[in-house]
Structures are given as C-alpha cells and as structure tokens.
C-alpha cells in the first residue's frame, strides 16, 4: 500500500511523520523521498546507499544536414520551447518537457533526442527498511520527472511511505497521484489552516482518500479542528507541541527513538491508515 504524506504549507512536519511511521512499521516498508528539491529524510534515516543513477529527460537535438527550417517543430511545441531562425533552431531546455512532439512533427526526421541529466535517484536501506531518494540538480526548474522516477523505482509492494514536497501544484501532484491514501500534515495556526484547505481541495480533485494529522498540537488556535469537523475530515493523530521533539528533529534524531512514549501514537496512526485503506478496498 502506498501512503503519501503531504501538507500544503511547508515545515509542518511531513518528514517527521513519515520517518516515525517508518520506524513503527511492523513489516516490509520503504521510505521514498519525493521532496526532490529539498530531501531531508536521509538526515534522519542515515541510509546505507546500495546504488544511485542519473535521472534524465529527453532533449531534442537538430541535425542541420537535414533541417529545412520549415518551422513544424515550433508549431508542434505547446511549451514555446523552440524558436526557428533563418539558419538555426533554438531549443530552450528549461521550457522543454521532453514530450517528443517536435520529433514526430519533423517531416525530414532531422530531430533526435539526447538524455539530459536533471537529478539523481539513490536507493538503499536504513535498518530493516528500504530507502529511495530523488535529488533535483540545483538550477533545474522541473522536479516532476525526478519524482516520477522515484515512484517507478519503489513500485507498490509492501508499505511505501511517500514524503511529498510542500505546495499544491505539479510536483505535489506527481508525488501523491495514484497513492492509496494521502495523509495531510498541518499545524493548528491560521497559515496551517489556510494551506490545509488548499491541500484538501487538491486531494479531492484527485479523488484520493485522505485524513489529517495535526503537528505541534496545543500551539495556536482551534481553527483546524473546527474546519475538519465541518468538512467531515478525520483527524487521525495529534502530535504534541513538545520542545523535546523539536530538539530531536533539530539534530536529526527520530522522535520515537528519542521519546519511546510517542511510539503508540504513531503505531495507532499507521493502523488507522491501514484500516481506512482496507475498508475502501472491501467497499
């Protein structure tokens, strides 16, 4: 089963929840870091890396011995990534999505593709658990291809915990789309509530089963509780606002290892998610 952990607002505790769930998981489990712009799971899980490989996107290359500068490739490109000048064809790689439309459109077969590196995927183990991480190269704008590569790498076997990036746009969609359940982590503040509403709109648009976990419970106000009650969204866990958790996090230590009294909270959360997925499967 694939459980994605997302948030809308950044810094609400996605990674904290994901790594603690991983540590209390009873069977086969994999942690997949899909926050490829800023992956942090590694800092806590200290994995032994078994291998890594480059993640690439196709980039068109024009063969000028065949090109007639007819402009069909420019017309075919919906991303305005191609400009055709009298004696050259300019490809703007940061706008190119690597869809291949230009290759298909060229009547002279003058366009081929080369693989352009934009990041890498690392995989290994952390204790009994599997570890996969995507990392976007600095300066690259588009993270979804790296995220999709991580998703392909982990597959669907056992428990897969996907640590998603913040926000609600394309990188998050790539991370959470077609997962079995999306847990939305928020904090009980006006910013947390506002961005939770956006995240709920996103999971509803994608038709994903979802519930909320509140981090730093006790801080702020009751807005998140009132909203969830009004919208019929379950709150499956409330992680207390405890300075010791923050200090463990600061130094890259896992809360359930540092504070064993927190174990039941995460065990219960993982069971609750499993039950909701099972109930849905049966229905």
């Amino acid at each position: 089963m694939i459980v994605s952990i997302a948030s809308g607002k950044g810094g609400t505790g996605k990674t904290t929840v994901a790594i603690n769930l991983l540590r209390v998981a009873p069977g086969e489990a994999v942690y997949a870091d899909c926050d490829v712009e800023e992956p942090n799971g590694r800092l806590f899980l200290r994995p032994e890396i078994a291998g890594e490989y480059t993640c690439t996107v196709p980039l068109p290359v024009v063969d000028y011995t065949k090109c007639t500068f007819c402009g069909r490739c420019r017309e075919a490109c919906r991303f305005n990534a191609i400009a055709v000048l009298p004696k050259s064809v300019m490809i703007f790689q940061e706008l190119c999505h690597g869809c291949g439309a230009c290759v298909m459109a060229c009547p002279e077969r003058a366009i081929s593709e080369r693989e352009r590196p934009i990041g890498k995927v690392s995989h290994g183990t952390s204790g009994n658990a599997g570890f996969v991480e995507g990392l976007l190269n600095v300066g690259e704008a588009m993270s979804p291809p790296v995220i999709r590569q991580v998703r392909r790498h982990v597959g669907r076997d056992g428990l897969v915990l996907i640590d998603a990036p913040p926000g609600t746009s394309c990188p998050v969609i790539a991370a959470v789309n077609n997962t079995d359940f999306c847990l939305l982590v928020t904090e009980p503040t006006p910013f947390g509530l506002h961005d939770l509403k956006l995240a709920v709109a996103m999971v509803r648009a994608l038709g994903l089963p979802h519930a909320v976990a509140i981090n730093r419970a006790g801080l702020g106000d009751r807005g998140v509780h009132d909203y969830c009650a009004a919208e019929g969204i379950e709150i499956l866990a409330e992680i207390p606002n405890d300075r010791r958790i923050a200090e463990a996090y600061a130094h890259g230590r896992t809360a359930v290892e540092e504070l064993p009294e927190l174990r039941p909270l995460f065990e219960k959360l993982l069971r609750a998610i499993g039950e909701r997925i099972a109930a849905r499967g049966a229905a």
Partner: protein
C-alpha cells in the same frame, strides 16, 4: 528601485512572518506574494482587491470515446502515463503536450486551455500588493510568479516606490527560480535544524548559480544554539552575509492569530530581532553596509 526576495529552501521557517514584518516597517514598498501555490501573506496584509486577472494555464487533453478507434497510438506515444487502458486521460498527469492530439488518426482528442489561476493588484495598509492564487493541481507556477513580479515592478516604477518585497516559496524549483532571478538580494530565512542547514545550502547554491547576493537569518535560533553557530559559520564560508537571529517566541503565533504583522504586535523579543534584521537588510540594500 530595489528588489528583495525572501526564501527559505525548507518550508515553514518564517518567510511570510518576516515578509509581513518588513512590509510594515518599510515606508515605500510594493509587496509581491510569489508563493503562488500556498500564498499566506494576504492573511496578515488583508488586501483590498482592486484588479483581478485570470491566468491561462497549459492545455489538457480529453478523448471522445465515441470517436476513439482504440488504435492505442496515443497511449503508446504519451510520455507522461496520462492515458489509461480505457483511453481516459488523467488530467492530473497530463502535461498538455498535445502528442496524443497529433497522433490520433480519428480526431478523437480535444485540447482545452483552462484557467489555471488568478492574480490581483490590491491595496493594503502598508502599500500596494500584487498576489495570486493558483488553482489546485495546476502547473506553470513559475510563469505566474513572473507575472506577479512584472506587475509589481510596473507599480513600483509608476508610483516611485523604492523597494519590492517578494515573499518566495519553499524549495529550489521553478517558482523559486522565478522569484529570485534578477533581484538585488535574496534573504534566506532558515532554522537551526539539520534539515534547515541542508536546505539552506541548496538555496545558497541556487543563488550563486543565478548570481544573486545572499543574506541569511536564523529563526528560532535558541532552539539549538549549536546548530545556529554551525549555520552562521557555514553561510559565511559560502559567501552569504549573516544578518541576524530571531529567538523562539510564541508571540509570533499570537500575532499571526491576531492577523497582525509581528512589528505591529505588542513588543516581544522576536519583534525586536526582526526590526534589527530589517535595519541591517535596508542598509545593505542601500549600499550603506
């Protein structure tokens, strides 16, 4: 006219709290909320919307099952796994490249251009603000950021405003690149955690990549003083200027709940620290420090 972008790498470190405080402290600025994915600045600045514009997104394909001849070419050619075995397009996975439209021999594919979001020009108690709301599950946030910044520049020029304060988004991808290219300085607000340090490092590399001078401040600095020290030393090594720390202070959340900028709220250690950082940043922007 100067442009200051506030970013963080890691989310939730206090970008918007800082931006709102700077908005209140600056006397002649335009605010640009470039965290178009999860914009929060309006919760504090309470903008009165003056102009409203729609923002066109990319294309999305749909397949007419009546016209479809089930040849399978679209599925084979789609590189985004957006067409399933029943020849239904997953709108969330579709990138709008049009390859399916181009290959379909039956004319069964339609491409539609949807409204991806809105952007606004508003007035606030601290001056003009340009902001946006991207609809959920949309792309092109970098383009929307560019739109917001362009309008903020036009307003600053027309009104003789001295500064544009840009609230950025977390990460290092397209909206962040779009938020920080060409600014006079980028202020990175981080926190004293291993994650904060790691993410700061990548944002500083990004700033260096685009040749933007970087400033660093550490929020909740007293939560892990050892980490704060390490971050300060490391930032200076990387050529960034350290401009101050903010202590952990629950007044920050109280101000947020009251929908007030920290510098409008009752005196507190965090407020004092943010005001000190503002003075330093302003001097740096004016070339006085």
């Amino acid at each position: 006219m100067k442009q200051l972008a506030i970013v963080s790498g890691k989310g939730g470190t206090g970008k918007t709290t800082l931006t709102a405080a700077f908005a209140a402290l600056a006397d002649n600025a335009v605010m640009a909320d470039c965290d178009v994915d999860a914009a929060d600045l309006h919760l504090i600045l309470a903008p009165e919307i003056g102009e409203r514009h729609s923002f066109a997104g990319g294309l999305t394909a749909t397949i007419d099952s009546e016209a479809c001849v089930i040849c399978g070419q679209c599925r084979e050619m789609c590189r985004f796994d957006a067409i399933d075995e029943t020849f239904t397009v997953d709108a969330a996975a579709c990138e709008g490249c049009g390859v399916c439209y181009d290959v379909c021999p039956a004319g069964a594919v339609t491409l539609t251009n949807e409204v991806a979001g809105e952007w606004y020009v508003s007035s606030t108690r601290f001056g003009p603000m340009v902001h946006a709301a991207l609809n959920v599950a949309q792309e092109n946030s970098g383009k929307l950021v560019a739109q917001v910044r362009q309008r903020a520049r036009e307003i600053a020029e027309a009104d003789g405003r001295e500064l544009i304060i840009i609230d950025g988004s977390p990460g290092i991808g397209c909206p962040v690149i779009s938020s920080l290219t060409g600014v006079d300085a980028v202020l990175v607000c981080t926190e004293p955690t291993l994650s904060g340090q790691h993410d700061l490092e990548r944002v500083l590399e990004l700033a260096a990549h685009f040749d933007v001078p970087a400033l660093v401040c550490v929020n909740k600095a007293d939560l892990a003083p050892d980490m704060t020290e390490a971050i300060v030393a490391h930032s200076e090594e990387k050529g960034a200027r350290f401009v101050g720390t903010i202590p952990y202070d629950e007044t920050v959340v109280a101000a947020m709940i009251a929908a007030r900028a920290l510098s409008e709220h009752e005196p507190s250690p965090a407020r004092e620290a943010v005001e000190e950082i503002w003075r330093t940043v302003r001097q740096i922007l004016n070339g006085e420090a």
